[in-house]
């Protein structure tokens, strides 16, 4: 899932303070799970902004709403007529949602209330961890299912580097060295010989945007 954290309140306030009618628009999928941008968080943020507006004597009408997803138009199209009555949409969706709504809404600005971070796993409720960086050319079959792109601080394709320290990364004792994890895993899988092979430089063109693709089967059906 996509993770994100709400921007500092002052930054958000500075974005909205010059508008007259603002909708705080939540997304009830990924960003709701990380308690940053679901309907509940949109409601709380709208309420805080109303308090701030009252303190500053700013006459802004601030409301809130949410839909299940901002990354597919069919979810926000049904409320489009209503949201077009606002002069700013403060979206608490991830960056994908902000982009897509901007493209579809017309002349109304859509601003981001959260900083989108990474797509990650949820090992325990309230904890998020980056395990894959979406490089477009997966090598997990060579690394025991542990991604060195996302989990090694230097994204080394051949590791560990000289900084590995008792199983931790030199960058921080809170980060496990991905290449030690890979070694341990390969040992368990009885595949240590793979560690001796040099992984060649990756085709990074597949990791860079703009990226898009179409599902071939669906394209054929359409024809």
């Amino acid at each position: 899932m996509i993770t994100g954290e709400q921007k500092p309140f002052e930054e958000i306030w500075n974005m909205v303070k010059d508008f007259k009618k603002v909708l705080v628009f939540g997304c009830n999928t990924c960003v709701a799970i990380c308690h940053a941008g679901g309907g509940k968080e949109a409601e709380i943020l709208a309420s805080l902004l109303r308090m701030r507006a009252a303190e500053e004597g700013a006459a802004i009408e601030i409301n809130h709403a949410a839909v299940e997803r901002h990354c597919e138009p069919e979810f926000f199209q049904p409320v489009m007529e209503n949201i077009r009555t606002y002069d700013l949409i403060l979206s608490t969706a991830c960056g994908v949602g902000v982009n897509l709504l901007s493209e579809n809404i017309g002349d109304i600005p859509v601003f981001p209330a959260i900083n989108t971070e990474f797509f990650g796993a949820v090992p325990r409720a309230g904890e998020f961890t980056e395990l894959c960086a979406g490089c477009g050319n997966c090598i997990l079959h060579l690394t025991g299912g542990i991604c060195p792109i996302a989990r090694c601080s230097k994204s080394l394709l051949n590791g560990p580097c000289g900084g590995t320290n008792n199983g931790n990364c030199e960058v921080s004792p809170d980060i496990k060295c991905a290449w030690v994890l890979i070694y341990d895993r390969m040992k368990k899988l009885n595949k240590l010989d793979l560690m001796k092979e040099i992984n060649e430089a990756k085709d990074w063109s597949k990791a860079q945007g703009p990226r898009n693709f179409k599902v071939k089967v669906l394209e054929e059906i359409k024809k």
Partner: protein, 63 residues
């Protein structure tokens, strides 16, 4: 509670203005005591910044 207090701090409201009390339905006298204590505390803290911003000075003086 801590989270809500931190949200209030963000908009310049003293987190002391919010408190949660746990007590059973059978604790009437204690409930009254808490209400009095909390009312007293809020009086001491004075009007909230939101109240100050949204109410007229005239009303403020009357109170």
């Amino acid at each position: 509670m801590e989270h809500v207090k931190s949200l209030l701090t963000k908009v310049g409201i003293d987190p002391e203005r919010l408190e949660m009390f746990n007590l059973s339905a059978a604790m009437g006298p204690r409930w009254a005591e808490m209400c009095n204590e909390f009312t007293e505390k809020i009086r001491r803290l004075g009007p909230s910044p939101i109240w100050m911003a949204t109410c007229s000075p005239k009303k403020n003086i009357k109170e």
